[in-house]
Amino acid sequence: MTATEVKERIVGRALKRREDPKLIQGQGQYLDDIKLQGMLHIALVRSPHAHANIKQIDISRALAHPGVVAVFTGAEMLDINPLPAAWQAGGVKNNAVTPRALAVGKVTMVGDPVALVVAEDRYIARDAALLVEVDWEPLPAVVDAKQAAQPGAPQLHEAAPNNIVFEWEAGSQTDADAAFASAEVQVSEPIINQRLIPTPLETRGAIARYDNATSEFTVWMTSQAPHVMRLLLTAFVFGIPETKLRCISPNVGGGFGQKIFCYNDMAFTMWVARKLGRPVKFVEDRAENYQYSTHGRDHITDAAICGTKDGKITGLRVKTYANIGGYFSTIAGGIPTTLYGRILNGVYKIPGVYVHVTGTYTNTAMVDAYRGAGRPEASYLIERMVDRFAAELGLDPVEVRRKNFIQPTDFPYQNGLGLLPYDSGNYEPALDKALAMAGYTEFRKAQAEARTQGRYLGIGVSSYVEICGVAPSAWVGLNGQGWGAGLWESANVRVHLTGKIVVTTGSLPHGQGIETTFAQLVADELGVAYEDVEVQWGDTQGTPFGYGTYGSRSLSVGGVAVKKSLDKLKAKVKKLAAHMLEANEVDIVFDDGKAFVQGSADKAKTFAEIAAQAALAYSLPEGMEPGLDETSYYDPPNCTFPFGTHIAIVEVDTETGHVALKRYIAVDDCGNRINPLIIEGQIHGGIVQGVAQALYEGAVYNEDGQLLTGTLMDYAVPTAAMVPHFELDHTVTPSPVNALGVKGAGEAGTIGSAQAVINAVVDALTPFGVKHIQMPVTPERVWKAIQQK
């Protein structure tokens, strides 16, 4: 046993998040808490129509309203460019039409802003916005992704004939055709993955300030990626040097993907701040967030699966229409392609797979990444189809999964859909553990018994694999995936004279516990007190460049950048310690915050002593620079591929159609575990969002493009009281991709869960001949499915 194994490590301990106390005591600072001297407020004039031409805008009455400072329309902002389309579908033509700061000429969704009022306070701005008169010419609307591509559908953009944004494919049509031609059994099913509204607790917004003397902007934003926003807003929208914009993400109240993107409010607050020479604030209300900030999912798919009578899956065909909304949002092209189409065969070896995705514009809110982003849609589809396949054959869905799993010896595994190989996996132990926790065999007996009494229980299994820490940059950027930048991260670790440590990172927390997890890493690596480590983030002025926090990448990419800086730092510490101890560097052991010559631990130099020497520079080795301060960049060689099995147990009230989620079991493998409490928290929240999609949530537009679920009174976000206690466990299969062996846990809960619930509901309703029900499985949908028997 070596010394490093005896000491109490902080990594692996379930520390409470250090971010939380101030936030739960109301001492955090969110965007709307920020008040600048002389700050003005913006209210938007938004379209009441889903699709209309703007014939004329009369701002005179609004301008005359007391307290109004200015009123602007989109035509005045043509000196800045439309927002960029940063991730387009790879390797194919994209008809990307992105929003401008304000719409000009026409609108393509309800809530599309056409003018803005700047006033001394928010109330005046709101009142005056009602006085702007817009002469609309309403146009026919289309809201359905598939109908939008049909002949005769209303056309949204000249640059996108038939509303088609892109046509993209993966896999091999020839192999899939061959598999289906020789299959003993095949099943097809239309699968709808309904549109969801991310609903972070804090809505979005921006505050911009312009310094006329230096031509510098500062923008506070509710962003998951302030460095990327800085790049996009300067280089692409304003055409100014990147150095002239400082972006700051203060505390961000949840993102779930919706806050990754470049939004028009960032651009128009900057434009107005420069125009008027005063800071301006724009914050959405909830109704605006629901109408205009991005939504997620919204796929209409025809899927078919085939195989042999004994349950071997040989082919999968998927044709998906992915709703892009009224414009192309920042990374909308990558979600239904790279992050969906390339992982559709899930945890199974399927010889013949072909995927075709058509992205279409519709008169609805833009669709982009929402927790899981493509992988929940993929995982839902394959896991439903595997259950359909098993049911068709009369086989146990668990045994069909087992029979088709990618085996531990198959890794690294090429899935044939154009991904880099799955890094590592061992799917059966996670499945077995979950089955044992659920008591699968006993449940089947109880289920049969209950049916004789008119009670309908169901069990649903979901074995998933997903993609985290999308990388390397050259693969996602250069090689046909369509990403317009890199996807590395960087981190600086700086040691102050007193031995206190500051980590600055381009990753940033909005619920992920990055401050806590990164501090745990540093404390263990340097053997210093956890409390002596500060983690700073969110301000482009004080942190090294990072692509931001999303895609479950902050630990597996950002955390590894921290680890690399720590390795460099430790090398310098050892070199300096050797000098201080008058020893050879190769003989120095640095452990638990002390450096000593091997075998002479009693004559050690503490980390604080070494840090002081480095900072004071009274006696340094020949050629050594003062200071302990290291920056690293980390571009992973591959993505990571977390996996696991989730099991839901439900009871259906066949008289009303209500589904009661009785138990929920999740066994997740996210590689090595730094903070189990944070992982469990992420899994809990993720499962709730997946269960929400299965049972409750769904954005509904009417045919005219009006959002019927426009407030929290109609869009059903579940509360803690609406879900059961979650029974969690895990397996650990370290990732060989990175030095920490970590994979990612931020989205797995969402990716694994919806299909577990739906599989359970369909299982419960087997006696009624039900084969599939579209999400959300509301009581009425269940009741109707039963009635149709």
Binding site: D127, D285, T709, T711, L712, V717
Partner: protein
């Protein structure tokens, strides 16, 4: 999400409130717990010029059990649910109001406010119908009492005159051989009733001698179910009798349909929930 400007008054007595109502007429709205009115104002669905905040009127708050059960109109759901005396003499009230909204809503929302607002999906109207409550109101001409069955006139409309203030709700305690229950299908987002059914049963020996049912959520207003009630009378309240009687529930009602529950489905659920409410009420009446 920002209401338009309004004038604000906070009277400290019923007389003062009625005087203010007289002065401002149709322009004024009474503010109690604010859980219906304020969201409506924020969404621009209501824009009263004057708000009369009655929460400073202490006499409107509290429960008195003295032969009858007298609940002040400003009494919150939480106060009703936690009231020891009510739990003994009218347990169905606590059972029902505990299903309203969430804890924050129950701490603010009031019985009188909900009845005066008469939301078609509110729970309390169904209860007052099934329990045959009397609703006391004060106006410039003094006080009067309106039977619950006469109180709800249409969607968001009641027998309350614009210059009147709802001051109390009077229930009769349940005795031996009586039972009441409230069951509901909650809206997944708001917890309002998609269908809510309150049932009251009185047994004479083994036979039903009185029955009242109030259905909420399904139509424009909460309604009694006279056909079901008649069908229950004289029966034994057994499973078969309940099943047969509840098939008449919702017949003749104009049933609402929306994205959460279609008209057909709601109609079916009125029957299911009526059956369930009756079954629970009968079981309680049997003791």
């Amino acid at each position: 999400m920002i209401p338009s400007a309004f004038e604000y008054h906070a009277p400290t007595s019923v007389a003062e409130a009625i005087s203010l109502l007289g002065q401002h007429g149709d322009e004024a709205k009474i503010l109690a717990g604010g859980h219906s009115l304020l969201p409506a104002m924020k969404l621009g669905l209501a824009a009263p010029g004057v708000l009369i905040d009655i929460t400073k009127i202490a006499e409107l708050r509290g429960v008195v059990i003295n032969g009858n059960v007298n609940i002040g109109s400003l009494t919150t759901w939480a106060a009703i649910a936690q009231h020891e005396g009510l739990r003994r003499v009218l347990p169905v009230l606590g059972e029902a109001v505990s299903q309203i909204g969430d804890l924050q809503v129950r701490n603010r929302g009031t019985l009188g406010g909900a009845l005066a607002h008469a939301d078609p999906a509110a729970d309390a109207p169904a209860l007052t119908l099934a329990l045959d409550a009397a609703i006391r109101v004060h106006g410039p001409k003094g006080e009067r009492t309106i039977a619950a069955v006469d109180f709800f006139t249409d969607m968001l409309s009641t027998a309350l005159e614009p210059d009147e203030l709802l001051t109390a709700i009077i229930f009769r305690p349940l005795g031996a051989g009586e039972g009441a229950a409230y069951v509901k299908f909650p809206h997944p987002a708001t917890r309002y009733a998609i269908v809510g059914v309150a049932a009251y049963i009185k047994l004479n020996g083994t036979h039903v001698s009185a029955c009242r049912i109030g259905v909420t959520g399904a139509g424009a207003k909460a309604e009694r179910q006279n056909d079901v009630e008649q069908a229950m009378l004289g029966g034994d309240g057994g499973d078969e009798a309940l099943a047969t009687a509840s098939l008449r529930a919702g017949e003749g009602m104009d049933i609402l349909g929306d994205i959460h529950a279609s008209e057909d489905y709601r109609r079916a659920m009125v029957k299911v929930y009526t059956k369930r409410a009756l079954a629970a009420a009968v079981a309680r009446a049997r003791g």
